[in-house]
Amino acid sequence: MNWTDFTSAVFNFTDYGELLPLFRDSLLAGAILGLVGGLIGTFVMMRDLAFAVHGIAELSFAGAAFALLIGADVIFGSLVGSVVAALLLGVMGVRAREKNSVIGVIMPFGLGLGILFLSLYQGRAANKFGLLTGQIVSVDSTALSVLALTALVVVVGLVLIWRPLTFASVDPDIATARGIPVRALSLAFMFLLGISVALSIQVVGALLVLALLITPAAAALQVSAAPRMVVLLSVSFAMVATVGGILLALGGRIPISPYVTTLSFLIYVIARVVGTVRRRRGWSVRTAA
């Protein structure tokens, strides 16, 4: 492949104006996923659950692969896989160390199961690959409404438990002393996280979920510590990555996930630079009292 072939495969904006309306639903789906990923990502960072997200994604992949094998709905399969995995982690791992070892045990098992199901599957190879690396550029309107509805559940759920969850995440000891149901909140959060992972897998695939659920929030935390600002930035970053990624991917021949992950990564790099500059200039300077 020479350079011209490469660029035309990656960036191709001929007939862009005609393509765009066709992908209206995909863009909406991207925006919805950005919102969910950006919101839940801030709590993932607060609760130090990046590794857990990865583990949940692998089991979600196994669920989707199984659904593919038996001819059931793939999205439903991935949803079941990730919610079961998330709740399992919520119940089993109380302390961080314990949690990490449980994830380390579960993750390869899930991935292995997924590979088993996929190798037994006789259908189109593109379906197999898509589960891991993401594929769904064209979302039809039924899929979109399912997606929107599920996303609504996550957002409403998060808003309802927002304050006590924040308290329990940053300061579990005090939250317990104050009578906040820390453990129940943790389980509720894991449930919502499981749903979010399953949603994100549809766009970026099981291997790249972190780009949607971790990177935007991590970037936001580089530049701000004000809670509202962090949430706002995290959601904006995630939306720019998903919607931008889909827009860039329209004309090319490759899946959208590389675009999404690259945008996400670039945003993080910029945020990191901004954060470093801010720290150098004295972020923590006390004002004269």
């Binding site: 940053v170 104050r178 004002t287």
Partner: protein, 292 residues
Amino acid sequence: MAAGADGRMPMGAQDTTDIKLTAVSVHGARLGFGQRKLWDGLELDIAPGEFLAVLGANGSGKTSFLKVLLGLLPLDSGTVTIGGELARRGHRAIGYVPQQRHFTEDTPLRARDLVGLGIDGHKWGIRLRGRAHRKRVDELLGEVGAGSYAKIPVGMLSGGEQQRLRIAQALASDPKVLLCDEPLLSLDLNHQKAVSALVGKQAKEHGTAVVFVTHEINPILEHVDRVLYLAGGRFTIGTPEQVMTTEVLSALYGTRVEVLHSNGRIVVVGMPEAVMDGHLEGTPGSEEGHAA
């Protein structure tokens, strides 16, 4: 938890005004783990504005005592009331100041947000009315002298600054009782003094009862009204002058313990366990016995 209807009545109950006058009442309290008894027959009334230090070696049940007051640990027998009500989880009359804990630098909270959690962090949903909230946070920050770093991320604050915020957070609910669990641990001497002065001020000026668990009495000595000293399943209660003596502590530990006074500091030497209450400066706290 054994809580009879008469559990609210203090032992040898005189009249009901007594109950209102005590911030914390502990009656006939027993707590143990398996075979091991931490304390039994504990009788204690803490008045509003009183500063009680809880001392004792590691494992003597200091932290368990706090957990009982917080309603996180049930007693084997006896009752505990806070402001006339049985101790329960999340009691609004209690403010809790924990040990200093490390926040990572990317914790999305500024100083004022940490204090804000004390005001409404337990409520469901998101905060809608911001103005009254901000005003209250500013008040609390002012009370502990933390206004100058209100907007700095908590992960970038020093231990002493963090502990001031903890106190502000604990005071957010206007507590009748302030429970402090080793809040001076890992602070330098100046910050130890400043933080204990803040707690002392709260007791004196606002009539908040203070229960201060510590392994070192010296930084808080000037504020302490009474001491609850726990050791090996036994306890002693009294003023620091009464309790921190060679005779009393020797009897409590069941072995010869030397209590020395120097420059207004109290040093306990020869404790059976490796933990000392007021170790000599420059002497590793873990070193046993013969420090003097």
